[in-house]
């Protein structure tokens, strides 16, 4: 009887758009569906200020509101949730899969991995230690703490340049440290940053360490061509170094990952393991959008419904 209580037709790991779209479909088809997430529901959209390109909303909708709507829609059809939950064990091979959450085992024959992706950490000394007291990952949130001050931005992609544009409205100066000789961001955004008189750029440099010196932050950056280490002093450091797939949970399973760590699937979202699907930003794909995540989740769900 105990096993029945914790057995589901489908377990979805990840409560972002892909996972919630799948949950809406499977719950509505009367499959008992459990969604597990280490945080709250919504994935990256919950932290998106406004979503303006999701069909069906004439005016932009706040990301957290869209996330809440998706979660409530899934719940209305009977989806169960385990949020802010820690998965301590995961068994994906065999016909019966086991997901252990905070010492409680849940079993199922179908799993969708929809764990998404997260901002890449640089993994250099000082990064974690000074998060929130000199190191930041969000210009919208923390930019005002650096009004009329000097900041350093790490990264040259779209996020880095869009956030830099926001910072340039507030700060005294902004120095971009980028590992290449040109910015990867879209030219229109990159040029706005480059043409701003407050902007300086350190091309072909990578940060090696962040040090707090009283109220100032020191960035030790290596010139990738000469190997010389330069010291750059500023009031704050903003890091926008791209995204990485959240596949740590499946690293020690037989699930096939690409060389960059994304889950490999076919067009039905099936992985190399029977009964294990992947959907959303965590899988190998070209475009990572809310709409494409919804697409993945829907396809995975329909395949599971058809086989059930």
């Amino acid at each position: 009887m105990e096993n029945n209580i914790h057995s589901h037709d489908l377990i979805i790991i990840g409560a972002g758009p892909a996972g919630l779209a799948a949950a809406i479909y499977t719950s509505r088809a009367s499959l008992s569906t459990l969604v597990i997430d280490e945080s709250m529901a919504g994935g990256q959209i919950k932290t998106t200020h406004q979503v303006a390109n999701y069909p069906g909303f004439v005016d932009p909708i706040a990301g957290h509101e869209l996330a809440r709507n998706m979660r409530d829609q899934a719940a209305r059809f009977g989806t169960q949730f385990e949020l802010a939950a820690e998965i301590t064990h995961l068994q994906l091979d065999g016909s019966e899969k086991i997901v252990t959450v905070d010492d409680t085992p849940y079993t199922t024959r179908n799993i969708i991995i929809a764990t998404g992706s997260s901002p890449r950490l640089l993994n250099v000394p000082g990064e974690i230690e000074y998060k929130g007291s000199g190191v930041s990952y969000c210009a919208t949130c923390d930019g005002e703490f650096f009004k009329d001050k000097d900041v350093t931005v790490i990264g040259g992609g779209n996020s880095a340049m869009e956030e830099s544009l926001l910072l340039l409205q507030m700060v005294k100066s902004l120095t971009v440290i980028h590992q290449f000789d040109e910015l990867q961001a879209e030219k229109i955004t990159a040029n706005k940053v480059l043409n701003n008189p407050k902007t300086k750029i350190l091309w072909s440099h990578e940060p090696r360490e962040f040090i707090k010196n009283n109220e100032k932050m020191l960035t030790l950056a290596e010139n990738l061509k000469t190997k010389e280490i330069v010291k750059l002093e500023s009031d704050g450091i903003f890091i926008f170094a791209g995204m990485v797939p959240n596949t740590g949970l499946v690293k020690n399973t037989p699930l096939q990952l690409s060389e960059y760590g994304y889950v490999v699937t076919n067009e039905n979202m099936e992985t190399n393991l029977n009964g294990v699907y992947a959907a959303g930003d965590v899988r190998v794909k070209k475009y990572r959008q809310i709409t494409t995540a919804i697409n993945d989740g829907t396809i995975a769900a329909l395949n599971i419904i058809q086989k059930h």
Partner: protein
């Protein structure tokens, strides 16, 4: 306005009364921003998991939020949200910027055990 399911502290008197009356209190002071929303969400879940702890939030832009911002434990913080844990009326932990569910759980087990 903070759009969450948490009870929002409107002023410093509410906070002072709460920490005077309740042994275990956690307050997340922030905005409706990307680093704050996940912490509110985790607090919402933990409200059910830890009924002995009073989870609250507070608008960072309300003048009375100085009661959090000016705490010595928050000196040097420049990442939202500021999250403060009180036990028996005293600050026992303060964090800056986003925290994961596991980090918050670890803090709860450390300071409220």
């Amino acid at each position: 306005m903070l759009q969450t399911k948490l009870t929002t502290l409107q002023n410093k008197e509410e906070l002072n009364n709460l920490i005077a009356q309740e042994e275990k209190v956690a307050v997340c002071c922030g905005r409706m921003g990307p680093m704050c929303i996940p912490v509110y969400g985790i607090f919402e879940v933990y409200e059910e998991k830890y009924p002995d702890i009073k989870f609250r939030n507070m608008d960072f832009d309300t003048p009375d939020a100085d009661v959090i911002k000016l705490l010595p434990e928050c000196r040097g913080f420049n990442g939202l949200p500021f999250t403060v844990y009180y036990r028996n009326g005293k600050v026992v932990k303060a964090t800056t910027s986003i925290q994961s569910a596991k980090q918050i759980k670890d803090i709860i087990e450390e300071v409220f055990a």
